[in-house]
Symmetry: C2
Subunit: 403 residues, 2 copies
């Protein structure tokens, strides 16, 4: 192993609409497809860049909805088709992570280490991130399902927390910061969050998990046997497609053809499609935390590496505002072209000019203004979280066209 990551594969589950970022984020174009930091790369592109730098470009896989595959391929042309897992319908993170892991294990061996990292998180501090992943991979090799805990910088009630237990430094010398996860706790209320913070023993659960493929699949069979068997069947089918494709490519090669040009990967999904049809719809919809990490933590099988990098899940426009630089001395934030925003006696606003129009604000303070071609949203920044209520209301009133 050259850099210590040769057996490491990254999985990027790219799901979730990002309802609180409506009307920018839509069912048809979710949050991870946007450049929410205004830095020239979308969230999934940045996530890919970050993981490709560690695992290598051909060790990064993406699980996403069928309807988003085209957009993902367009944003990440460097990802090979066999590294994109298309889901016919959302079945939460357990199915996404387990299927990618099962396929990768069949392709590259049961002892590979996989790591799952959401497509729509923001991370600052590359060195600290790489070090945390490195220690997580070492800990995973030792058999632990390993999460990376985020330093809780405030008593947030928007995240679940991880209560850290005893150190694993003696057991795993190459992961000096590893410790046992005592338990996972749900999103707390404000007082509880404050209490967690004051102990210094709690970190945010960002849903990052690193583990050996065999360890994950064994635990899945233990906790969710029906789900595990269905995933195995789909993974087997994908491997059958792999073989058929490889054979077709070999035959083309023998005929002196350029197999990349004459053999279309899209023609080799027969077995997968049949297995998906048979199993996918009935798969249990459950987050990986609930299905595996939490029950296993009770048995002492989950470890944590503290991540000392900056992290944000950009849940709402207030988070977007917090991460953007101000474009004037009155703290105006613009996601887009600042020339499309004109303000007079206005401060602290976040404007998303996404409809090629001029947005003018007169005496408007601390507001969110999101201007898209078919829908405009105006709300106080402090109520950014409630944007999901607006989306719910639109849904209930039959405005699916806007969702």
């Amino acid at each position: 192993m050259s850099n210590g990551f040769d057996d490491f594969y990254a999985i990027i589950p790219a799901g979730g609409t990002g309802t609180r970022l409506w009307p920018l984020s839509r069912e048809a174009k979710p949050k991870f497809l946007f450049d929410l930091l205004g830095q020239g790369r979308t969230l999934i592109q940045s996530t890919f860049d970050r993981l490709a730098a560690i695992a290598g470009m051909d060790h990064v896989c993406i699980s996403t909805g069928e309807r988003h595959v085209a957009a993902v391929e367009e944003q990440l042309p460097e990802v090979a088709p066999e590294h994109i897992f298309a889901e016919p319908a959302p079945r939460d993170s357990t199915a996404a992570i387990a299927l990618a892991t099962a396929v990768l294990a069949r392709r590259h061996g049961n002892n590979i280490v996989v790591g799952s990292f959401a497509a729509d998180h923001v991370i600052r501090g590359k060195v600290a991130f790489v070090d945390a992943v490195r220690q997580a991979v070492e800990t995973a090799r030792a058999g632990y399902i390993t999460t990376i805990g985020i330093a809780a910088s405030r008593p947030s009630t928007a995240f679940g927390y991880i209560h850290e237990g005893q150190s694993l430094a003696d057991e795993i010398p190459d992961a000096p910061d590893a410790c046992i996860v005592e338990r996972f706790v749900e999103k707390p209320n404000a007082a509880t969050a404050q209490a967690y913070l004051s102990t210094g023993e709690y970190r945010w659960n960002a849903g990052m998990f690193v583990m050996r493929a065999d360890v994950l699949l064994d635990h899945l069979h233990q906790y969710k046997p029906q789900l595990a068997r269905a995933i195995d069947a789909i993974a087997d089918a994908i491997i059958e497609d792999d073989r058929a494709l490889a054979q077709a490519q070999a035959e083309a090669h023998e005929r002196g053809e350029n197999a990349r040009e004459t053999v279309d990967v899209a023609d080799f999904h027969e077995h997968r499609d049949a297995a998906m049809n048979k199993y996918w719809q009935s798969l249990e919809k459950i987050a990986f935390d609930y299905a595996v990490a939490e029950p296993l933590s009770v048995e002492g099988g989950v470890a944590m590496i503290p991540g000392d990098f900056g992290w944000d899940d950009i849940g709402d426009f207030n988070s977007v505002a917090a991460l953007l630089p101000s474009v004037n001395e009155r703290n105006l934030k613009v996601l887009g072209n600042p020339d499309q925003v004109v303000t007079l006696d206005s401060a602290g606003d976040i404007v998303v000019p996404d409809a090629n129009r001029t947005v003018t604000l007169l005496g408007v303070n601390d507001m969110v203004v999101v201007d898209t071609p078919d829908a405009l949203l105006i709300a106080p920044r402090a109520r950014s979280q409630e944007v999901k209520s607006m989306v719910k209301m639109l849904d209930e009133s039959g405005r699916e066209d806007l969702l």
Copy 2:
């Protein structure tokens, strides 16, 4: 005279951009072209309807900028081309009223009575309006330049006031409510406005003037001789065009043609165009109040009829809101299609959805939201008047495209 108005001609000066109604109202499409009450007729259409009902359709003239003639013709196809006076550039109300009066006097006699009523005012109470105009016409016939004073319903600082003097009921029995105008006063400050109101002797000056053509033109020669001579010259030129047109029509008729089809009125502007070129640009830009009404009032030559009808000049979006019915129980006002506005926990807003998009408001109270295809405005209702500052700022920053 059948209804007592046979010698009465109405002039509608249609000028002014309505800057405080930006971005709905623009230089290219001013306020008077909009249906600001959401009743199916634009302001100029309603003004025309109101005056045509009194004077007759063919006794209503419109003075407007050359660039707006096409829109006016489209909105008011019932107005004959010779009743639309096109101004090469805005020269305020004195030039507009004087030119229309001078032409009408040449066409219909010096003793006709003309009345000037702005294209962008809103009036409710048809019977009271007709009665006020009737009394004003009677008073005008007696030689007074006669204004209609609006009952001051609040101590507004946005309007000039008229201080009423002694009754003219004895002198003009057919205008029992007529009185002398003691003086015109400028827009007052709040304390002065309150003081005016408490006397009961002050009314708003809505710029409505009714007068005999000869009386107006004589006074204009007295106060603004240079302006009056230029107007006379332009009016003479228009009459020359009238004659040339009439001759061409007569000749066509003799040839057995339908003159309406074979003679194009637009071809008979030669003399007018030459006179406009010679005089218009250098005309003094001055409001009729300053040029004639105020100096004449000092000499006791101006009378007032109190108007007991509802009146508004819809200066800003707060005025628009005040005149629109609520579309929900939280006092939402919508100028346009209410289905294009979705609100959640929001009250007292005025929304103008003019870009075929859905406007969504979450926790937004007492705001103005004007959504047009190239510009969006957001401001508190209480700051509606300051919209003109936004327009000024856009102008100064080179955004003529948005004005």
